[in-house]
């Protein structure tokens, strides 16, 4: 994989919901380029028919009795919310006019 272009970096930053400047895009292009070149050594290994490991334990599904338990109080859950109104989380406009 070749070095990332500035445009590609900006696209990734958008996917990651990170505001970046032109300067930062250049820096990230350089840093990510180095790391991805480093990561390409993995291609030395033939992994045909090798199962990917996402998790080392053999636990698959963990079930429990479907019994309702009391959660945290709403007031407590709102304690760290910066902007709120009538017990609800407030955010800036989602749609622009």
């Amino acid at each position: 994989m070749a070095k990332l272009s500035k445009e590609e970096v900006k696209h990734v930053a958008h996917l990651a919901r990170l505001a970046i400047t032109d300067e930062e895009a250049e820096k990230f292009a350089d840093q990510l380029g180095k790391i991805t070149v480093f990561a390409e050594q993995l291609n030395e290994l033939d992994t045909t028919n090798v199962e990917p490991t996402s998790h080392v334990l053999s636990i698959v599904n963990v079930m429990r009795e479907d019994v309702a338990v009391k959660g945290l109080d709403r007031d407590v859950m709102m304690l760290n919310v910066k902007e709120q109104e009538n017990g609800q989380v407030k955010v800036p406009p989602i749609l622009e006019d």
């Binding site: 990734v12 990170l18 990510l32 990561a39 760290n80 919310v81 800036p92």
Partner: protein, 487 residues
């Protein structure tokens, strides 16, 4: 002199004999911190009032109901949530965040009668190997203040090494307990994946993260792991495997123990002094009746690349929750929701965190997913199989914890790949999910070196038995940094 040069057992004796009270021990921690933390810079938040109040409450509990860690002070890494006590993961994005519940491990400390003293600095979101990635301060190595304590649980190791607290909790995703334990000359255990609940540990890479104990001795470490281990209904990846009494078999006897030494762990890149210290350690183990043989873990050299792809991918997903809406920092003066997300995250996260989020997002993107993420997961399988194979014939794998002793502050900050290389000997263990400990095994120019002992899944018992036998046969753990006595 401090009471904290005593072991847990000795501290209990003193409490029992009335030599001091639990409040005295609690105050000792705060006075040590007051004296030393200006230099060490380990604590981000202290909980003095509540800790002293709790010490009084604990005093009323009868001796018969007290366990081996009862009344003893402990520091907690700042990525473990503590109800009512600010938890920031050393990030600006969580500045002012007051958790509304305790992590399971914190509950378990309380059940054991321990007193939480405060929160310990770290690399932001546990991403780093030196504590230089903290948004607040750089913790320093108590053995030499110009050097890093390691990371990311650098302050967890430094606070114990400096005798500010006798115990701490850290977390380990790619070496974050063991590498700082090695750099600071203390004992740090990364348990088997699933051994300890992750509920309330702020996630970095969920398939690799584990909470673990940092102490000055192996015996105390075993006590603390036993206190925090076990299945938890709030963490479906915690394993339903019985927790043994780890200290029951600490008798110094390792006759017939089969020790494997991977040749890759003593290869190029590992410094001569580290190699020598490991050779001496192997002689000690042989002298105690263990058999030592060289083995190969052929995929070791690919672990670093696989790790950075997998850990960053998981991080990019886990850290999406920090959006400025429900907790922590929130950017101001924005026009719409998308801008709020982007500005909050751009201003709230530090450089290294952003880089890993970018790397992870890129690795998981359409078009690169198979080449990076899936490939890394397949390589992870090969690494795990290396370990499975060796453990068919051996009880433990032994090698260095880190390729060198601690490095100077600012020495490695210019280049990510050089910094990442510090973790080359610890990362494969997380990928394989097996447990491993770092214990002191020597010094180089006044800085400690660490011996890493790796075990089979859920066999922390054999690791502790080996580590204890080695520790009893040597005296590296008895040494303390000059700062210990104060200036």
């Amino acid at each position: 002199m401090t009471l904290f040069e005593r072991s847990a057992r000795e501290l209990q004796e003193g409490l029992h004999n009335g030599e001091y009270t639990i409040a005295d021990l609690t105050n000792e921690a705060f006075s040590r911190i007051e004296k030393l933390d200006g230099d060490v810079q380990a604590f981000l938040a202290l909980d003095k009032e509540k800790a002293l109040q709790r010490a009084e409450e604990l005093e009323t509990i009868p001796t018969g109901e007290r366990g081996p860690l009862f009344g003893l002070p402990i520091g907690v890494k700042d990525n473990i949530v503590t109800e009512g006590l600010e938890t920031t993961c050393a990030s600006k994005i969580l500045k002012g965040f007051i958790p509304i519940y305790d992590a399971t491990v914190v509950k378990k400390l309380r059940d054991a009668g321990m007193v939480t003293i405060g929160k310990l600095n770290m690399d932001e979101f546990a991403m780093g190997s030196s504590n230089e990635n903290s948004a607040y301060k750089t913790t320093r190595n108590p053995w030499n203040l110009d050097y890093v304590p390691g990371g990311s649980s650098g302050a967890s190791a430094a606070s114990v090494a400096a005798g500010e607290v006798p115990f701490s909790l850290g977390s380990d995703t790619g070496g974050s307990i063991r590498q700082p334990a090695a750099y600071c000359g203390v004992v740090g255990m990364k348990p088997t994946y699933g051994r300890v609940s992750r509920f309330g540990l702020v996630a970095y890479a969920s398939s690799l993260d584990q909470v673990g104990p940092i102490t000055r001795t192996v015996y105390d470490n075993a006590l603390l792991l036993e206190a925090i281990a076990g299945v938890d209904p709030n963490d479906s990846t915690s394993a339903n495997v019985p927790v043994p009494n780890y200290v029951a078999n600490l008798n110094g006897d390792i006759k017939g123990l089969r020790v494997a030494v991977p040749k890759e762990f003593l290869a190029e890149g590992v410094s001569e002094e580290v190699r020598q210290s490991i050779k001496s350690a192997l002689d000690v183990l042989k002298g105690l009746g263990a058999t030592v043989e060289e083995v190969s873990l052929p995929h070791s050299k690919y672990a670093l690349a696989a790790y950075y792809i997998l850990a960053s991918s998981e991080a990019s997903s886990n850290l999406s929750r920090f959006d400025g809406i429900r907790y922590g920092f929130r950017a101001e003066g924005v026009k719409n929701l998308m801008e709020l997300y982007k500005e909050t995250r751009a201003k709230g996260f530090g450089e290294e965190v952003k880089l890993r989020i970018m790397l992870g997002t890129y690795s998981l993107s359409a078009g690169t997913y198979d080449a990076y993420y899936k490939k890394a997961q397949q390589v992870r399988t090969l690494i795990k199989e290396d370990y499975d194979k060796v453990f068919e014939n051996y009880d433990v794998i032994v090698g260095p914890t880190a390729p060198t002793a601690a490095f100077k502050i600012n020495q490695n900050t210019h280049d990510q790949l050089t910094m990442y290389a510090n973790d080359i000997l610890t990362i494969p263990i997380n990928l394989a999910g097996v447990p491993a400990i770092s214990i002191p095994c020597g010094f180089h120019e006044g800085l400690p070196l660490g011996l890493q002992i790796i075990g089979k899944h859920f066999d922390e018992e054999t690791i502790y038995r080996t580590a204890y036998a080695y520790e009893q046969a040597t005296d590296f753990h008895k040494q303390t940094p000059q700062i210990w006595e104060g200036k």
